[in-house]
């Protein structure tokens, strides 16, 4: 599995991608493959504020439910509504079309503390 080098990763298997003042978040290819076929994604409410390590949403497969932990804290400014009708995007395109939410980060330093692609790849190897 290829992990984009421009992304940062959490030990809980989320990725973040800094896009200007905002940060896009999703779950990693490894996480989706462990879960199996994703059947539902619970998205966070727009405008809600999550703490680092707090629950950003849940991803459900047929027989498992997994929390998506916020790798950084911030305010939810966009959610991936496409997942409401096509939760399978998390499986088919975990690092692109299967993103979950966009946050305005409360503290950019939280991002720096996350793993880079090589470190994450070593973690899940």
């Amino acid at each position: 599995m290829a992990y984009p080098t421009a992304y940062r990763y959490s030990k809980d298997h989320e990725w973040v991608h800094v896009e200007g003042q905002r940060v896009r978040i999703g779950i990693t290819a490894h996480a989706q493959s462990e879960l199996g076929d994703v059947v539902f994604v619970e998205l966070p409410p727009m405008g809600s504020v999550v703490k680092q390590g707090g629950r950003l949403g849940t991803v459900e497969s047929v027989k498992a439910v997994s929390d998506v932990y916020a790798p950084i804290g911030g305010k939810v400014v966009e959610v991936n509504v496409a997942l409401e009708s096509s939760p399978d995007l998390v499986n088919s395109s975990p690092h692109e079309a299967g993103w979950i939410a966009i946050l305005e980060p409360e503290s950019p330093s939280q991002i720096d503390a996350l793993l880079d692609a090589a470190a994450y790849e070593a973690l899940v190897a």
């Binding site: 059947v39 539902f40 619970e42 459900e60 497969s61 047929v62 027989k63 498992a64 439910v65």
Partner: protein
């Protein structure tokens, strides 16, 4: 013990395979102090014949079974078409477990799917689960769900809610830390819905209510704001009456005993639970769904299981596991046998007979504490007092509630009567004579 086939020779052979010396050695991991404190229950075994005869005597000791029931309050003496028991008696249904292996449980799962469809049809809702324990726990779970979604920590409840429902609701709400606010009823016996408390997660109302009165649900939802409208219904009545779903109910629950279950001294019962599609991931209990098999053929399986306790554990929408599957099957077969035409007939018969009797009683000078519309159950004040009337009815072989049964509702000296399709003209004539005197 004739349910176990085993002799000591065979036990010895099996113990050899296991590699232990004796049957007692199989229990060597139980602490000796525990084993030594054991005391038997002091019961000799009895033959099948003796057990059956014993129960036959117990059954005969139930005078209520041969009396003529005028009791209601959530459980009713309805007729069950004989075919229902024949279908329920098929052991492929009753000796099966919860359908965790769908490929060999298509019978149960298909029936669950039919049941859900029927509950939605009856209640006017979009989705239904495959059953709850009873009407009371279904209502309690509806309130927990509403509070989970709305989060106000308070619910408003009609004071005309049946006592069995209210007792269970109070227990569940106490444990969950949900405050219960009372909404009074007026002289019609209908709940005063003109002004309802604000900032509640749900408003709970029952129709027909504990006084037998049909609640006017029109416009209630509009006055509720964010709160869920939770309606407890009498499903058999919905053969004749407009379903709560048509009045904007968010959750419809009910006691399903009227749909093909015996009274059985109040259990097993059948909880109905129906709601809007958007709350699918919040509902308690099991749900069957349609899918395809590996060859593309239609089949049924449990759906939306990630809500349930075996997957989500402490964050599940409910702790329910075993529900009332066989009772749901009974209701499904009952409705299948009757069809829409038959159900409408049964419902109308209940309505007719109850109104016939009430009108006769009115002509003979009995009065009625509440003047709201009713289905098959009403509260009446006999001419010479409820106590005396109760004694006359009981002496004549009728099974009636005590005259003080409604004091919790502020009603004294009155009787609550339920009249089902089983009550004959002759029985109703006698009731009228005993309550209102001969005309």
């Amino acid at each position: 013990m004739r349910y176990i086939q085993r002799d000591s020779m065979e036990q010895r052979k099996m113990l050899e395979t296991v590699g232990v010396a004796s049957l007692d050695a199989l229990f060597s991991d139980i602490p000796r102090e525990v084993l030594s404190r054991f005391e038997p229950i002091g019961l000799p075994g009895r033959s099948e014949l003796e057990v059956f005869e014993h129960f036959s005597r117990l059954a005969e000791a139930n005078g209520a079974a041969t009396g003529v029931s005028l009791l209601g309050g959530g459980v009713y003496d309805h007729y069950v078409p004989r075919a229902v028991a024949h279908v329920l008696g098929r052991s492929e249904f009753y000796t099966a477990y919860t359908p965790y292996q769908p490929e060999i449980s298509q019978g149960t799962l298909t029936a669950m799917f039919e049941f859900q469809t029927m509950v939605c049809e009856l209640t006017g809702m979009e989705i239904a689960n495959a059953s709850m324990y009873d009407g009371a726990t279904a209502l309690a779970e509806a309130v927990l769900m509403a509070n989970r979604i709305r989060g106000y920590g308070r619910v408003a409840v009609s004071q005309a809610l049946g006592a069995p429902l209210r007792r269970v609701l109070d227990t569940y709400c106490w444990a969950a830390g949900i405050e219960v606010l009372d909404v009074p009823f007026g002289e019609s016996g209908q709940t005063r819905t003109e002004s309802l408390p604000a900032d509640v997660s749900a408003f709970v109302i029952q129709s027909p209510n504990a006084l037998g009165v049909l609640e006017p649900l029109n416009g209630v939802k509009d006055r509720l704001g964010q709160a869920f409208l939770v309606v407890s219904t009498y499903p058999l009545a919905l053969g004749l009456l407009e379903p709560p779903g048509s009045f904007g109910a968010d959750v419809v629950v009910g006691e399903g005993q009227s749909l093909g279950l015996p009274m059985g001294f109040g259990g097993p019962l059948l909880g109905l639970f129906a709601t809007r599609k958007e709350y699918l991931r919040q509902i308690p209990g099991r749900v069957a769904g349609r899918t395809l098999d590996a060859s593309g053929a239609v089949g049924y399986t449990m759906a939306a299981q990630t809500r349930e306790q075996h997957i989500r554990r402490e964050r599940a929408t409910s702790n329910i596991c075993t529900n009332s599957a066989l009772c749901a099957l009974a209701a499904t077969v009952y409705l299948a046998i009757l069809g829409s035409g038959g159900l409408r007939q049964v419902a109308q018969l209940n309505f007719e007979r109850a109104h016939d009797l009430a009108e006769t009683l009115a002509r003979r000078g009995c009065t009625f504490p509440f003047d709201g519309p009713f289905f098959n159950e009403f509260v009446v004040r006999p001419k010479d007092g409820a106590g005396a009337a109760h004694a006359r009815l009981t002496a004549a072989g009728f099974v009636v509630e005590a005259s003080q049964a409604l004091t919790a509702y502020g009603v004294n000296d009155a009787l609550r009567l339920a009249i089902t399709e089983r009550r004959t003209d002759e029985e109703l004539r006698r009731v009228a004579d005993l309550l209102g005197g001969t005309s």
